[in-house]
């Protein structure tokens, strides 16, 4: 096991990160707070070539959640590295670049080019897109497939850059998948992503938000119990500091805040501040 197990090598100064695909390019979220005050900023998934994304409607409300079919719109790796990454690094954020590929070779290539870019703290391998086949992505549903992606990324990743695998909060498979990706070289796992769902018109989509939170929390608890040495980042419907504390108590080392940002762009900053007060109570308070 290569999972990061102590403070050495854990690059995030506090446990609150943004979730992939929920912070724009960083510039927009930066209007509402200091990205450097978050544990880290995770980019939307970047693919080798630009993707225009799906036709609208791309998001619809669902009880306590959103269903999305964004189609992984992004400018492609080259344009991202050239046009967006430098400004993001300049904000002082610990930058985590999410990558998604159509093949093992593409994952390896992305891992190599992104990991070499100045200022990248970690690479997050997206192994849990809610509709990988529809998006033309490499199918990483099976743990052995997820492990082969992580292995490809590990081989080509620059030293000192953390490798994170983002896996689906599928209770039946999550422990097996987490074990496989860590054995293949992941330093940490993000447990949770939008769950496979359908848009009202039947197109494939992903359900996110508080609707999926209890289910993501269960998965974090299962992975933490089975693999106590693995660094887990919990993700799924976290709306406030109490939600974040629940994931940390279940064994997560950090959390990602996603859909909540669409409702209130200040959420991640506020949770980071509140958790900071937990860790460092004001003078005079009982500890």
């Amino acid at each position: 096991m290569t999972g990061v197990t102590d403070l050495d090598g854990w690059p995030f100064a506090n446990p609150v990160l943004t979730a992939s695909g929920c912070g724009g390019t960083g510039r927009e979220l930066g209007s509402y707070g200091d990205l450097g005050a978050l544990g880290g900023f995770v980019t939307r998934s970047v693919t080798r070539l630009a993707r225009a994304g799906s036709a609208p409607p791309r998001l619809v409300e669902s009880p306590s959640g959103l269903v999305n079919a964004i189609g992984m719109q992004n400018p492609g790796a080259e344009a991202f590295l050239h046009d967006e990454l430098p400004a993001l690094v300049d904000t002082g954020a610990a930058v985590v670049v999410s990558i998604a590929g159509h093949s093992l070779g593409e994952y390896a290539e992305l891992s190599r080019s992104v990991g070499r870019a100045p200022g990248v703290t970690a690479v997050e391998v997206n192994l849990s897109a809610p509709d990988p086949m529809g998006s033309g992505l490499f199918d990483a549903r099976e743990p052995f497939q997820a492990a082969s992606v992580v292995g490809s990324c590990r081989r080509d990743l620059a030293a000192g850059v953390l490798l994170i695998a983002k896996i689906r909060s599928d209770v039946a498979r999550v422990v097996e998948t987490a074990r496989a990706v860590v054995e293949a070289g992941a330093d940490a796992v993000v447990v949770g992503n939008a769950l496979p769902a359908a848009m009202p018109d039947g197109r494939a989509g992903g359900l996110s938000g508080p609707a999926v939170r209890p289910q993501a929390l269960r998965c974090v608890a299962e992975v933490a119990a089975a693999l106590p040495d693995v660094a887990i980042v919990g993700c799924g419907g976290i709306m406030d500091a109490a939600d974040a504390r629940a994931f940390l108590a279940a064994g997560a080392r950090a959390v990602q805040v996603g859909t909540a940002l669409f409702h209130d762009p200040t959420t991640a900053f506020r949770i980071a501040r509140e958790l900071g007060r937990d860790a460092d109570p004001p003078p005079g308070e009982d500890t």
Partner: protein, 262 residues
């Protein structure tokens, strides 16, 4: 709290006053920092509660002093779904989360120009402060104000007082636009997509600058979710998909790839 002086801010606003005018509800919001930074074409995102995660977007209709507050923001709500119904029935004194001012505003002409404003339904609220700014700059302003029926024409009397030349065109406003175009240097449209397409087509071969304030289905309204794609064509003919909320909502009509927009 906000990290930026000039960008949007996210605040808890207080509903100071409401009024019902025709088919629309006007909400006056005390939203510190939002009105002060607003420009013609700016909009706000409002939370509607009850477990609704998506925001609802509204043009900033007016900004002004009210009840001892310096820059109260007035928006125009048409009840169309659960969210707008909830907002329209909020009691005075209610608190709502408001983010703004959002979006790229209208570009104003450098010198005096003859300006045609095309407003339809509640969307005409995007043009109210624009008309004022244009008049202050010495521009001629002619407003074509439309709506599906009289109740859906936004404040024609008030528009006549502040704009001057107003033509109300209930139902189909295309004839009024065609009549006004030969005497216009600049066109601004805040209307239905059908009318935007008509206006964009009508000005395509004329030496007229035209901006449209697009309304696309929005989720976050702040540039985070990539949920409001607008296909555009750049000056070199390259096709791109941009976000209505931060790359717009005001676009040059000629930049929008109308054929690709679904």
């Amino acid at each position: 709290m906000t990290a930026s002086e000039n960008g949007p801010t996210h605040v808890t606003a207080e509903l100071l006053a409401t009024k019902s005018v025709g088919a629309f509800h006007h909400l006056s919001l005390v939203a510190p920092g939002v009105g002060e930074r607003s420009r013609p074409g700016s909009f706000v995102a409002v939370s509607v509660g009850d477990g609704h995660l998506a925001r609802r977007a509204f043009w900033i209709h007016r900004v002004g002093p009210m009840g001892g507050h310096r820059a109260v923001v007035e928006i125009v709500v048409e009840q169309r779904g659960a969210g707008s119904r909830a907002l329209a029935t909020l009691p005075v004194g209610a608190r709502v989360a408001v983010t703004g001012p959002l979006g790229r505003p209208f570009a104003l002409p450098r010198g005096p120009a003859r300006c045609l404003l095309v407003g339809e339904g509640y969307a005409a609220s995007a043009l109210t402060t624009l008309a004022e700014r244009l008049r202050e700059r010495g521009c001629g302003v002619r407003l074509v104000l439309g709506g599906v029926d009289d109740d859906h024409v936004l404040e024609p009397l008030s528009a006549r007082r502040s704009v001057g030349q107003v033509e109300v065109a209930v139902g189909d406003l295309t004839a009024a636009v065609v009549r006004a175009l030969p005497e216009s240097d600049v066109v601004y449209a805040a209307a239905t997509e059908k009318t935007h397409r008509f206006v964009a087509g009508a000005v395509a071969d004329l030496d007229v600058s035209c901006q449209v304030a697009l309304e696309r289905p929005l989720t976050c309204a702040t540039g985070l979710c990539h949920g409001c794609p607008v296909p555009v064509v750049d000056d070199e003919g390259g096709a791109h998909v941009v976000r209505a909320c931060v790359d717009g909502p005001v676009f040059r009509a000629g930049r929008v790839d109308w054929a690709a927009m679904s």
